[in-house]
Symmetry: C2
Subunit: 357 residues, 2 copies
Amino acid sequence: MMKLFKIAVIAGDGIGPEVINEGIKVLNKVAELDSDFKFDFTYFPWGCEFYSENGKMMDDDGIEQLKEFDAIYLGAVGFPGVPDHVSLWDLLLKIRKSFDQYVNIRPVTLLKGAHLPLVDVKREDIDMLFIRENSEGEYSGAGDWLFKGQEHEVVLQNGVFSRKGTERIIRYAFETAKKEGRSLTSISKGNALNYSMVFWDQVFEEVSAEYPEVETASYLVDAAAMLMIKDPKRFEVVVTSNLFGDILTDLGAAIAGGIGLAAGANINPERDYPSMFEPIHGSAPDIAGKGIGNPLASIWSASQMLDFFGYEEHGKVVLEAIEQLLLENEVLTPDMNGTASTSEVGDRIIDMIASII
Amino acid sequence: MMKLFKIAVIAGDGIGPEVINEGIKVLNKVAELDSDFKFDFTYFPWGCEFYSENGKMMDDDGIEQLKEFDAIYLGAVGFPGVPDHVSLWDLLLKIRKSFDQYVNIRPVTLLKGAHLPLVDVKREDIDMLFIRENSEGEYSGAGDWLFKGQEHEVVLQNGVFSRKGTERIIRYAFETAKKEGRSLTSISKGNALNYSMVFWDQVFEEVSAEYPEVETASYLVDAAAMLMIKDPKRFEVVVTSNLFGDILTDLGAAIAGGIGLAAGANINPERDYPSMFEPIHGSAPDIAGKGIGNPLASIWSASQMLDFFGYEEHGKVVLEAIEQLLLENEVLTPDMNGTASTSEVGDRIIDMIASII
Ligand SMILES: CC(C)[C@H](C(=O)O)[C@@H](O)C(=O)O
Ligand SMILES: CC(C)[C@H](C(=O)O)[C@@H](O)C(=O)O
């Protein structure tokens, strides 16, 4: 029986469409080489251009429209002229929240052939899997802006950590660590954030008791940022909050080949709603339209999509193709010191996939 | 006229007393070589040991007692057995807040002779001055813990950004950048933290208009973390919030010679209350009592104290002595791959100071 996966494509702004295009080529190639599944892509023109024409980032019933898909493939959102908090809250963050994509999975692994920027660290030492809370916490959106413009003006930003939200992400991380036979590190900040992170630490300890087979560690976020540079091999599977995950996975990208290689999956594990796959880089307005955006992050996130659909073998092939490309060191975009175009990189990856499968 | 500076010493826990001792030796040496000022040190036995005997981190009227001093010299606080949020909120954070030390100054400069851990970066590129908001924001301590133990348990952590608090730190940073003739970068997260950081960005823009001569830039905290590794020379003077400053200055320590070299000054610019100088490292319970804690961070913070009292020339001498010690590469503690003891390092610094002055 042939499986058909319906994918909603929100290519978005800037280099988004260019890089997503290569990811789609890759997914189609993988499907073509396998007879078991196919993809059906539906394009949604949402993003900042759409906003400037329609005064909104997506259709009013956009979330409704997306519901019927098996996954969402997102390029990048944001463009000068549209305030960031508008473009993101009305699209990226809205989707993450509406579809309860409470798990954000970000591999921070230095692939073979990728550039190692640290002197004291071995290549193999950079091999972490970040599991970031993706639905609440610091990104709850709750807050208040009082006495605007007056001397006693005060602005509140409220982190909201629910029992349910905290427990499920930590439990997901324990399940992952258990499955992979790796240790789990929690990153928090209980010494200063005297409610939320004390609670986080408590839940981590509670859930930990259910997984005696998983080795655990716990670090303060400041110490963790330092140790990711000084001694990254301490970290295997990592679980952390929404904001800390945001900061530390960008830092992770800096030591794992650059932002051009950093992929992220926004997962609703219960599969009640579509999950979303995206490169974690932005829309890079400075190079948009030049056809030189690096497509490797979106290709890596396509590999995550394959994993999610149960085709881990195929996901691995895509990653291997990326490694071969990096090792070959010939067809790379300018951000990786190459001279190739976005589509040349995609084409080369496809060749390599064909030679592996 | 001889000036006498009265310094309250809270050596604290773990390696705190050992490293502070060397800082005091250094301050006394500098004073001895100059006839213009002297220090008078008063020791306060506060910290976690005090807590285990008295059930509190400091005397009830501790803040009152400290008020009469010209500065506070702090080692490190925290020890296994006392929950971090107790030891810190009842001492370090309490002092920062009670004395309105709203400016936290942390140099992130790779000194001559210090180890450069990055492949793609030049030594001179790491030369930033972080100005961290130190009195409110994410560290307001405000929050709530509702429905404890129930399924709908929810924990709130409230960031509080006041007009006064936000404006004064940003203005302080502009003044510093102007004085130093360097650019000023604001680090925030307006795209996700839709109240506090939108406000921060707005205030930064407003104050910026008063300083047309200061070149400015603004980064998202995630991008900033990445760029500190990839391209640190972008950053000169940096202003950021309490939490972001915490994370990024530890990251800064990782690229600027390690946590053993990272100093911080908690300043009340109006001098209504004493300011506080501290190494930013912790109490390092694992090596406490062995006499091998690295005193360089507390010596650097002693240098900051000299700056604060208006003896910038003397502060510079102390920094030069640290550079000489690093370049000599002989008398270093184990964390810097040496075999020297804490006091041997202090003694060597004193020799070098004597030879410079
Ligand atoms: C664009 C922004 C809101 C987003 C975030 O902070 O989550 C991005 O940085 C990411 O990490 O996916
Ligand atoms: C100890 C802790 C509360 C403190 C902070 O987070 O401010 C420390 O990490 C620092 O940076 O001075």
